[in-house]
């Protein structure tokens, strides 16, 4: 009788415990997915065309069309790819959490989730950082290298790029919190007489 009670207590403890955390994690992942997807889309569609009058021949004006696209800068290409991969990662994790609870690989499910989360955090941080410094260069120029700023000419391009960067940084902070939560999940092993209290 006592043993059965203890078993019930164990099951109750371990099944009750992750539930509030599970919803929080899912919500965070959803938010992070939206943030990184928004960053990818906004930067991916970032394009501005300007026509300048280059010369006047007689009465006809010769115009030059210049475009600013995100593909011109490798840092922005990396930014788009990194955020795209992060969105895919978040999507896969959301699917896995909602529909694939039974999927496991030799008991390493939590470890794999934690490792993948960490790798995604690193990826987003790299992409956001490179794009941030390229954007700063485009906005302020660099007098030492005689590089002029381009943001006064391509204002919409810079604005959209800035918006994508903000979204990506928000996604980065969310991913960091998610990663920390995944690692904490890994460290806590539910025991019946455990003295570790989960906050």
């Amino acid at each position: 009788m006592a043993l059965q009670n203890e078993d019930k207590l164990e099951v109750g403890y371990s099944s009750l415990q992750p539930k509030p955390k599970k919803w929080v994690l899912l919500m965070l992942r959803l938010l992070a997915f939206f943030a990184t997807a928004a960053a990818t889309v906004v930067m991916g569609l970032n394009k501005e065309t300007k026509t300048l009058v280059v010369a006047t021949v007689g009465t006809t004006l010769i115009k030059a069309t210049l475009t600013a696209k995100f593909q011109h800068t490798p840092a922005f290409v990396f930014f788009v790819i990194a955020n795209g991969l992060a969105s895919i990662h978040n999507l896969v994790m959301i699917m896995g959490d909602s529909f694939g609870q039974k999927l496991d690989y030799k008991g390493l499910r939590l470890a794999m989730i934690a490792i993948l989360d960490m790798m995604t955090v690193a990826l987003i941080s790299g992409g956001a950082s490179a794009a941030a410094f390229m954007a700063e260069l485009g906005k302020n120029g660099n007098s030492h290298a005689r590089w002029n700023s381009i943001c006064d000419k391509y204002k919409t391009f810079c604005d959209h790029g800035g918006g994508a960067l903000i979204a990506s940084f928000a996604g980065l902070i969310l991913m960091l919190i998610i990663s920390v939560m995944s690692i904490i999940k890994l460290l806590i092993k539910p025991k019946p007489d455990s003295t570790i209290v989960v906050p």
């Binding site: 840092a75 950082s129 410094f133 660099n142 290298a145």
Partner: protein
């Protein structure tokens, strides 16, 4: 004696500390002068905020790596070290990424923005005796060093 697992961990952390220290020193002391059509250039790491960020980030991680080397094995602070490892990995990756982005522009230029490549540009022109400043080449070395240490931070 020291357990082999602890010894390996110490060794990895020492290598990590060494590489970040090397990155900081190389970037901070690379400093080159050149003249280009009677205008003298001096290239230092303080020219670009990206390189300043790189130096500061690597300096922080060097200090952290140094302190962690002396942490006794049974101490409860290792849980904090686990969390801080993650934070510093992120900081390092972001600093490498930023410096590499700017170095790439410095090396290849960006013709659409009328940004001339800074490394080696003078060699193309007809100045006979001038050699352009090549400090931006140093950063690729630094970056390789720092990248190696990321994988070493996890144990």
């Amino acid at each position: 004696m020291i357990k082999p697992k602890r010894l390996l961990s110490l060794l990895l952390r020492f290598i990590a500390f060494g590489t970040t220290l090397a990155a900081v020193i190389l970037m901070a002391t690379s400093h080159e002068k050149g003249t280009f059509f009677a205008v003298s250039y001096e290239a230092k790491y303080t020219d670009t905020p990206a390189f300043k960020y790189f130096v500061i980030a690597n300096a922080i991680v060097t200090v952290y790596g140094f302190l962690v080397l002396f942490l006794p094995p049974g101490s409860p602070i290792w849980r904090l070290v686990l969390a801080l490892d993650l934070v510093f990995i992120m900081l390092l990756i972001s600093s490498i990424s930023a410096a590499m982005a700017i170095a790439q522009v410095g090396k290849n230029g960006n013709p659409r923005a009328a940004w001339l490549p800074v490394c080696g540009q003078v060699a193309k022109f007809l100045q006979p005796s001038n050699r352009s400043f090549s400090c931006w080449f140093h950063c690729t070395d630094n970056l390789h060093y720092s990248a190696a240490l990321l994988y070493l931070q996890s144990p």
